[in-house]
Amino acid sequence: MMAELRYNHAVNRAMADAMAADPTVVLFGEDVAGAGGVYGATRGLRDRFGAERVRDTPISEAAFVGLAVGAALSGLKPIVEISFIDFMTFAMDAMVNQAAKMRTMFGGQVSVPMVLRTQNGGGAGSGPQHSQCLEAWFAHVPGLKVVCPGDPASAYGLLRAAIADPDPVIVIEHKALYAMRVPEPEALPILPIGKAVIVRPGRDLTIVSYGGALRAVAETAATLSAEGIEAEIVDLRSIQPWDEAAVLNSLSHTHRLLIVHEAVEAFGVGAEIAARMADIGFDELDAPILRVGAPFMPSPIAKALERRYMPNTNSILAAVRRLLA
């Protein structure tokens, strides 16, 4: 059986490699040390790097994320985990009013080299308080960087980049991707924050997506291809900053743009991409810019409703048909 790389193992390996390379990298969060995290992404790290560097925290999100900010100001490179992005409601201040603003506010005296790892998304019937995709909140905050890895290699490469980055980076993994496996890649490079990748070339339309929605997008593209419609898929990878040039470039040869993400469509990440392209990409557009995102309601728990709530081949296909009509 050929070697495979699992998403949660890629996350784990990124932290292990970074901690092995740099003794100032530390990790803490709820149940990351003893239990190895809800999704096993931190398993084995305390045994390997010791109880000083890998710590379980009490259920005090505001305090331990704030602690990470102070640690980053004083010589450490903390990785702090919030087990569901939904719980960021308790830890907004440290990221938004402190970490994000310190470099500017203190006149460049400091950098805040911290990483906040969390996960978003649905598909597990986890319900309205455990399935949200709140990346747009953080992308709106100057001083923060936000990445959303959509496959194991990105999970490794973006997390390594985030840990190496001198500024605060929020790494948003996806709960439904932790079990995703790919053949072990030849190499696992550190990936540049802010760079998108064309995961599928195509001439007929551009589909911009990221994170958990990429799989449904890829399936849809395969279906379309059978009909002779070639969709170009751009995986943003980074949400803040995002790769405007890559999207514009793709649009400039397909002239049609669809944005797909799992987050609520209204005021979501796709809105910014559409808005920018309706400005700098206006002359390239042969059709309206369309978006597929969650409808304006909290996540349902019933499987059938949740499937319909999340972007799926039906909803994406329908949008593509409209776009090409």
Binding site: A35, G127, A302
Partner: protein
């Protein structure tokens, strides 16, 4: 009601919650329940005992481990199981599920997927009771792990400052997710209570009779004279969630957790044969409720989508 019938009633509720949780484990294994569920096996006496002294007008807020609270507060078993199976006939029309079961007509203001988030909601309900001159109290259930959330501390201060008719009930099972709370919390609730000047009582949370007795005294005090804390020492027999592999949980500790079974303790108070009869009733009622839930319709998309705002509902 008389002693005997009270013991019987308490046993019935403990047995009901136990059998409900066991049935849920089976239904989850069957793949009928979306998401993860947190069972209260070993902690049933807390819900049964506290709720036995509340009126329908009294309100409660619960936690992620809220099945027992919902049922003890009066949620019908049909509505409960249909909700857990995410069906339209569920208490929340299949839109809440395990972590969000609510039965507002019976004063159950919701389980909660966010640790400690129910506590200020109970404060607000108590504030409404007081402002609207209702003879009612609000009860905030929370776990010992939630003691690390500053929100609890803010609420203790505010409840005392505004002298609200709210009871803080801590279900102290020694665990916060996958880590014993001794590794999370440096203080004890009685000392914290003393700092806030909020009266605190501790009770054996596995003895439903003891819980009912102490809760009765405490709730009476809260109705008259403001906030109190009731700490129930209990035990989480299973994992944090159903299916939790419980890596690295000390087997001895797990045996100890099972040792003082609330069901057995309650059972010992009943006359020969009485418990068996109750067990059979309960089994029947649960079987009927599950049968109802199994065939209950799925929630309707359009109804759900139209429910986000009242105006649109």
């Amino acid at each position: 009601m008389g002693k005997v019938s009270q013991h019987a009633a308490l046993y019935r509720m403990v047995a009901t919650i136990r059998q409900v949780e066991e049935a849920l484990a089976a239904l989850l294994a069957e793949g009928l329940i979306p998401g993860f569920i947190h069972l209260s096996i070993g902690q049933e006496a807390v819900a049964a005992g506290v709720m036995s002294v509340l009126t329908q007008a009294d309100t409660i807020t619960s936690t992620h481990r809220g099945h027992g609270h919902a049922i003890a507060k009066g949620m019908k078993l049909e509505a409960f199981f249909a909700e857990l199976l995410a069906r339209d006939s569920g208490a929340c029309r299949g839109r809440g599920g395990s972590m969000h079961v609510a039965d507002v007509a019976n004063g159950m203001l919701g389980a909660n997927g966010i640790v400690a988030a129910g506590i200020p909601i109970a404060l607000g309900s108590a504030f409404a009771h007081k402002t609207l001159k209702r003879d009612a109290v609000a009860v905030a259930f929370f776990g010992d792990g939630a003691m690390a959330e500053g929100l609890l501390h803010e609420c203790l201060n505010l409840a005392k400052l505004w002298d609200l008719p709210v009871l803080f009930v801590c279900e102290n099972n020694g665990w916060g997710e996958f880590l014993p709370t001794e590794h999370q919390i440096v203080f004890t609730l009685d000392k914290l209570a003393a700092a806030f000047g909020v009266p605190h009582r501790t009770v054996d949370g596995n003895d439903v009779g003891a819980v009912a007795k102490v809760a009765g005294e405490v709730v009476a005090k809260v109705r008259k004279s403001g906030p109190m804390i009731l700490e129930c020492l209990t035990s989480r027999v299973g994992g944090h969630y159903e299916g939790d592999p419980q890596r690295g949980r000390d087997p001895a500790e797990q045996v100890a957790a099972k040792a003082r079974d609330p069901l057995e303790i309650a059972r010992a108070r009943l006359a020969e044969g009485e418990a068996d009869k109750i067990d059979r009733d309960v089994t029947g009622a649960i079987a009927a409720a599950i049968a109802f839930a199994r065939v209950a319709p799925e929630p309707d998309w359009d109804v759900a989508a139209a429910s986000v705002y009242t105006s649109a509902a």
